[in-house]
């Protein structure tokens, strides 16, 4: 009889603990909504430097200036390379539509051709200009696509001394997984800033693919702003460090910054 009572109470305690733990962990949907609702300002100007290092230690350095402006139903961004000399003037313009069914529009200006080329936005899982971040990573920034994944909150875990929610994201189908070129992501989301401080990716075969970590985050004009990202590709040993500076949320950007003519002008 004592044993039955013990099991009964143990069961009650277990149930209570599970419910209490579940209450402590917000739903993944709630977390992702908060990540995507985070204020990023209607426009921003930033400079960022890419330091790319291969497994043998060979380094490459590239400097860019980027501009982003939000519109009704879409986000426009443009990026110009300022160095090294052989890519200087290269420009990349994107119209990112909030409607998930509508493909983004992208243009690339190559100074060597003196032409703007329309490029496909379907290859969002390809790496962006030799970095370890994909076009999708660059486009989304600190936001997370709701339409591409099913989410699940796994637990709380510390990243750099901060308690984060560990959210697992699985692409909704094989087609999306192939497009994104990964089969699973773990987002470590800081509830203070609602930014994922660490992302771990697994490739289509389920092997570790890459890890990206935000190494510096500051509050500028009351907006949490990423200052440094470290991305490591576990398959190639290649590493990218992206350092952001000069973030300006105050200077309003003119609409004609996001047109083809501006790409040609290189600024």
């Amino acid at each position: 009889m004592k044993t039955i009572k013990l099991i009964f109470y143990a069961g009650l305690i277990g149930l209570w603990t599970t419910q209490a733990f579940a209450q402590a962990l917000p739903s993944a949907k709630e977390i992702i909504n908060k990540v995507n609702a985070r204020n990023e300002g209607p426009y921003v100007t930033q400079e960022f430097t890419m330091e790319l290092t291969d497994r043998r230690g060979k380094k490459q350095l590239r400097k860019t200036v980027s501009y982003r402006k939000d519109y009704e139903g879409q986000r426009k961004s443009v990026l110009f390379f300022s160095s090294p000399t052989n890519v200087k003037g290269t420009g990349f313009l994107t119209f990112d539509y909030h409607d998930a069914d509508k493909d983004d529009d992208q243009w690339l200006y190559l100074p060597a051709l003196r032409k703007t080329r329309r490029i496909s936005a379907a290859n969002r899982g390809d790496y962006f200009l030799g970095t370890d971040l994909t076009y999708e990573d660059i486009k989304k920034g600190t936001k997370i696509s709701r339409e591409d994944y099913t989410f699940k909150t796994l637990k709380k875990e510390q990243v750099d001394g901060k308690q984060c929610y560990l959210v697992e994201a699985i692409p909704v189908n094989d087609k999306i997984a192939k497009e994104l070129k990964h089969s699973k992501v773990h987002f470590y989301i800081d509830p203070k800033t609602w930014i994922s401080l660490k992302n771990e990716y697994w490739d289509i075969s389920g092997n570790p693919l890459k890890t990206t970590e935000i190494e510096a985050l500051v509050l500028i004009d009351n907006i949490w702003t990423v200052q440094k990202i470290n991305a490591v590709n576990h398959k190639t040993g290649h590493r990218s460090i992206l350092t952001f500076s000069g973030s300006d949320y105050k200077t309003e950007l003119e609409d004609d910054l996001f047109v083809e003519q501006t790409l040609l002008r290189g600024r």
């Binding site: 790319l52 291969d54 490459q60 160095s83 052989n86 060597a112 329309r118 030799g130 003519q261």
Partner: protein, 446 residues
């Protein structure tokens, strides 16, 4: 022209002085490097020609560039080029440059060394209008490799069609204004610079017509060039818009064809008929349109242009002029596929139709060209491989280019490439079939 150049330089100097004064007034230390925003590209490339079994060229190129922001809305861009070709085979001796206006000519400093002011312009934003005035390149069109709409600037054919267009296009003194009008951008161009395609002088590696040996009874009159500043200038208008995912343009150019028309006559000289060629540049109208859009992993692009007054050589040596006037419709459609990681596949189909139904045309009325491009990059875009083929279906001529480029450092790249040219020696491309070559190069950016 020299007066205008002087005014331009003075304007730039005055604005620069104003900036220096502004810095002083603001008690900021004057930073010349930040003001000039200088950069330099240094290139070396050597090519070996298989048929001649000799070094075809060894060139050293020094390209300094300055981008001077005179104010938030005015940028002054200066690009120049020092060029040394050691073997002196591409343009033996001192090139005549008769096709190019005085102010746009290269400064020839000997058989092997030249300097050129490539670009010198002010890029000005006035309210919503972008104005670019000075020596510049204006590029129209969506096609790669062959040109339908890209006729605003002429080209230097020192290396036929094989050099980078960026290097072979001849910048012109011109004015360009982009004016936004309710969702449409209207680009107006005015080009008073009377420069045309710079064709290699006889003896050059890629000199035209060397395969066709003329008889002793052939005489060539001097080239007749337009020379009136206003009346002989070219003008153009391009309307462009972005509509439901499509990039669309409508283009019109009133211009002098950059290739001279070779009128022929056969006067009797000392009672002997002498075939006399009288080359002259003639006016033409170009009306065309371009489009591009992306569908999934595919990008569709194209352009079409109609030239109203094209002159085409005849195959009738007794024809009194040697040329007939015709309309010419040219169109290209290209499809790019990027569904394979780090890879681009591109195919283009060009059609070219001479509308005059005369039976004495020195070419087919309807010609087709096609091109294929395979481009793939490896190792985080440090290694690029490009393979390009262009073929004229009617004449069975064309060329294949391959190039491997490796980025040793951020600012240092090396490359190895080669070309195979094929076709009959009496055809446009095939005349250079003996110039198959392999080349090695290096570029350093500072």
């Amino acid at each position: 022209m020299f007066l205008r150049l002087t005014v331009g330089i003075l304007m730039g100097a005055l604005c620069t002085a104003d900036l220096v004064a502004q810095d002083k007034a603001a008690h900021k230390p004057f930073n010349l490097k930040a003001l000039l925003n200088p950069s330099v590209l240094i290139e070396w490339e050597s090519a070996y020609a298989f048929e001649d079994k000799e070094i075809q060229k060894t060139e050293f190129i020094f390209k300094p560039e300055f981008n001077i922001d005179l104010s938030k809305n005015i940028r002054w861009v200066i690009r120049s080029r020092m060029y040394a070709e050691v073997t002196d085979r591409l343009e033996p001796g001192k090139p005549g440059q008769v096709e190019v206006s005085d102010l746009s000519r290269r400064w020839i400093m000997g058989d092997r060394l030249e300097a050129e002011l490539r670009e010198f312009y002010f890029d000005i934003k006035i309210k919503k209008t972008f104005v670019t005035i000075g020596k510049q390149q204006i590029v129209w069109g969506k096609a790669d490799g062959l040109r339908i709409m890209d006729l605003v600037n002429p080209f230097n054919f020192r290396e036929f069609l094989l050099d980078e267009f960026e290097d072979s296009r001849i910048p012109l003194w011109s004015l360009k204004a982009d004016i936004p009008i309710k969702g449409i951008s209207a680009q107006f161009v005015w080009i008073p610079d009377q420069s045309y395609n710079d064709l290699p002088d006889p003896g050059g590696t890629y000199a035209f017509g060397q395969a066709f040996e003329g008889g002793s009874n052939i005489r060539q009159n001097p080239l007749h060039k337009p020379d009136r500043f206003i009346q002989d200038s070219d003008i153009g208008l391009r309307l462009s818009t972005f509509f439901k995912g499509w990039d669309l343009t409508l283009n019109y150019l009133y211009f002098y064809d950059d290739f001279p028309v070779n009128f022929q006559s056969t006067p009797l000289i000392d009672d002997v008929p002498v075939l006399t060629i009288s080359p002259r540049y003639l006016r033409n109208h170009l009306l065309g349109a371009t489009f591009s859009n992306a569908f999934g992993s595919f990008t569709l692009r194209g352009e079409a242009g109609y030239q109203f007054d094209k002159y085409v050589a005849t195959n009738d040596i007794t024809h009194p002029l040697g040329v007939v006037e015709s309309g010419q419709l040219m169109a290209v459609s290209g499809l790019d596929y990027s569904g394979i990681t780090n890879t681009t596949l591109s195919a283009q189909l060009f059609v070219d139709w001479i509308t005059n139904d005369t039976s004495i045309l020195g070419r087919d009325h309807f010609e087709t060209n096609m091109s294929l491009l395979l481009s793939r990059n490896f190792i985080n875009e440090t290694l690029d491989i490009d393979l390009i083929g262009i073929r004229n279906i009617n004449r069975g001529e064309g060329f294949v280019q391959g190039k491997i480029n490796y980025l040793l450092k951020s600012n240092l790249s090396i490359w190895l490439g080669g070309e195979i040219i094929y076709g009959d020696r009496d055809t446009f491309i095939g005349q250079f079939k003996g110039q198959d070559r392999i080349y090695l190069g290096m570029e350093l950016g500072i």
